[in-house]
């Protein structure tokens, strides 16, 4: 297999983008990515597009809208889907294209236009990301699933609502420093704790946002990367794992076992462990998900995730800075774009271009992207050399 590097990154403004359609959002990220790489589109061999929902796009092959609009035809475009992990699966697919020798330059685009449908419909569509036949009839929503995980975690480990809110406070603080974030204002612990309940015990500020947005990466082979990039960031490890469709069939309700499995694979491939990671982006679709991610990735012991945030160890300057771009919580969570956006942030950090949010001398970064409640999870490790 050939080595693969990220040589270009592009990120559009995340938010309620009522000014732009799916394809127009994708264009913003693609243009920024090609500008960053200094590579014209005509040199790109192949493209992978991550879009999670036809129901959000209100189209059957929305990825064709994207390749058409950026003028990529007649070259190959391959669409991937894995709910909230779609973007990371697009990166993995792009990596496979380059590593196999099929392509030298691959454009990876993640995009989602979520606000064209009303919020209640968006909640409905995402609720059917659980088992649409056996769980949806009980009114299950995504907050509902993670609320069940939160209640189990609280009962088993004594995790508190204050600790959950602590994740929101951190991520909103960093979101306020990220010009691409959906919400750019800090919040107080009190504000998070007194917001209305979405699904007990999760409150409004425990939940990520319904967001429009796009992000893009340009991947290159080792030879091309060294020729065109001063600061290539290498994809050092990839892990992908799956778990049961239904939450009721999970062996653990306080851990996402597919995340543990994906992390194990990625760490092994990169030849590193949790203590070697300098900065991470994790899937904080809900505050409890970030706490569970700390544990699943080995940043702390099982059950200690709440204490890790309480001790502020996941801030810049702490033991392991996590989601210092605002995370899904504050930056927003446009499903297909999220995994790609995570890789954009890690690349920035490893290049030393994260400004106020920079983790000093970050050389090794990790992204953790959960599809649904863990039906599919992708973990990637990135390295500067």
């Amino acid at each position: 297999m050939r080595k693969v590097a990220v040589v270009g990154i592009g990120h559009g403004k995340f938010g309620v983008r009522s000014d732009a359609s799916l394809r127009e959002l994708a264009f913003e990220a693609v243009k920024a990515c090609l500008d960053d790489a200094g590579i014209p589109l005509k040199e790109v061999d192949s493209m992978v597009t991550g879009i999670a929902g036809d129901e959000f796009s209100i189209a059957l092959q929305p990825s064709a809208q994207v390749h058409d609009y950026i003028g990529f035809h007649p070259k190959p475009n391959f669409r991937v889907e894995g709910a909230c992990a779609t973007g990371s699966m697009a990166l993995r697919t792009g990596w496979m294209n380059v590593a196999s020798g099929l392509a030298d330059f691959v454009l990876v685009v993640g995009v989602e236009k979520m606000t064209e449908v009303p919020t209640s419909m968006a909640t409905d569509i995402m609720g059917r990301g659980g088992d649409a036949t056996w769980e949806y009839p009980f009114g299950m929503t995504f907050p509902g699933y993670y609320a069940m995980i939160a209640n189990a975690h609280m009962a088993e480990f004594g995790t508190t609502e204050e600790q959950l809110a602590g994740v929101a406070v951190k991520n909103h603080y960093y979101g306020s420093l990220n010009p691409y974030a959906h919400m750019q204002k800090p919040i107080t612990l009190d504000k998070a704790l007194t917001s209305f309940t979405v699904a007990h015990p999760l409150k409004l500020f425990d939940c990520s946002l319904i967001t429009d947005g796009a992000a893009a990466l340009l991947l290159a082979s080792e030879e091309k990367a060294k020729a065109v990039s001063k600061k290539p960031v290498w994809v050092a490890g990839l892990g992908l794992a799956t778990d049961t469709m239904r939450i009721g069939d999970r062996k653990s309700l306080t851990s996402i076992l597919s995340a543990r499995e994906a992390a194990k694979t990625a760490y092994k491939m990169a030849g590193v462990g949790p203590s070697d990671i300098h900065v991470a982006t994790v899937h904080d679709c809900f505050t409890i998900a970030e706490i569970v991610a700390y544990e699943d990735l080995g940043f702390c012991e099982k059950g200690e995730g709440g204490k890790l945030i309480q001790a502020k160890e996941t801030y810049v300057g702490g033991k392991i800075p996590v989601n210092v771009d605002g995370g899904l919580k504050s930056k927003g969570h446009p499903l297909g774009a999220t995994g790609v956006s995570m890789a954009v942030e890690i690349t920035k950090q490893l290049r030393g271009e994260a400004g106020e949010r920079q983790v000093k001398n970050a050389e090794m970064g990790l992204s953790h992207n959960v599809g649904g409640t863990g039906q599919v999870v992708a973990v990637h490790i990135f390295r500067r050399e």
Binding site: Y136, F138, H200
Partner: protein, 145 residues
């Protein structure tokens, strides 16, 4: 009976009789005749041994609550046509839902209409019961025992 009376979404499945059985007062599982692995929700096929020779068995449905929640922001189906939200009041006080672990380690999802949220505790003993709603739909409730 149309399986959609339970699933709200699909009618066509090899285990469609599940809805009919709920209406008749039974929560049914399937068991693989070859390897004896039990399935709830019922499955027509056994991935354990790749057999499709299954038998039906009613569950006693008693066990301990594994986890629960109460969803205040419901999906559109339940929000728009509010009276269809089972056990909800006009003022829209949603009904808690939980996961009950019963015989064979099987887990049944169900509404918890009769217990106040504050009194719901993980580990509490409950029983899963079929319920036919006023609109003819069938579902499952969890009640303390």
């Amino acid at each position: 009976m149309d399986f959609k009376n339970f699933s709200l979404a699909i009618s066509q499945t090899k285990v469609a009789r599940f809805a009919e059985d709920l209406a008749a007062g039974k929560i049914m599982s399937t068991i693989c005749k070859k390897c004896r692995k039990p399935y709830y929700p019922p499955q027509a096929d056994c991935p354990e041994c790749m057999s499709s020779d299954m038998e039906w068995k009613a569950l006693k449905g008693e066990g301990a609550l594994v986890t629960f929640t109460k969803i205040h922001v419901p999906p559109e189906h339940f929000a728009v046509r509010q009276p269809l939200m089972p056990f909800s009041s006009i003022q829209f006080e949603p009904c808690p839902i939980g996961l009950l672990e019963v015989e064979g380690g099987l887990r049944i999802m169900g509404w918890i209409p009769k217990v106040d949220l504050k009194k719901i505790k993980i580990g509490m003993k409950m029983k899963a019961l079929p319920q036919t709603l006023p609109d003819g739909k069938v579902t499952i409730v969890l009640e303390p025992i």
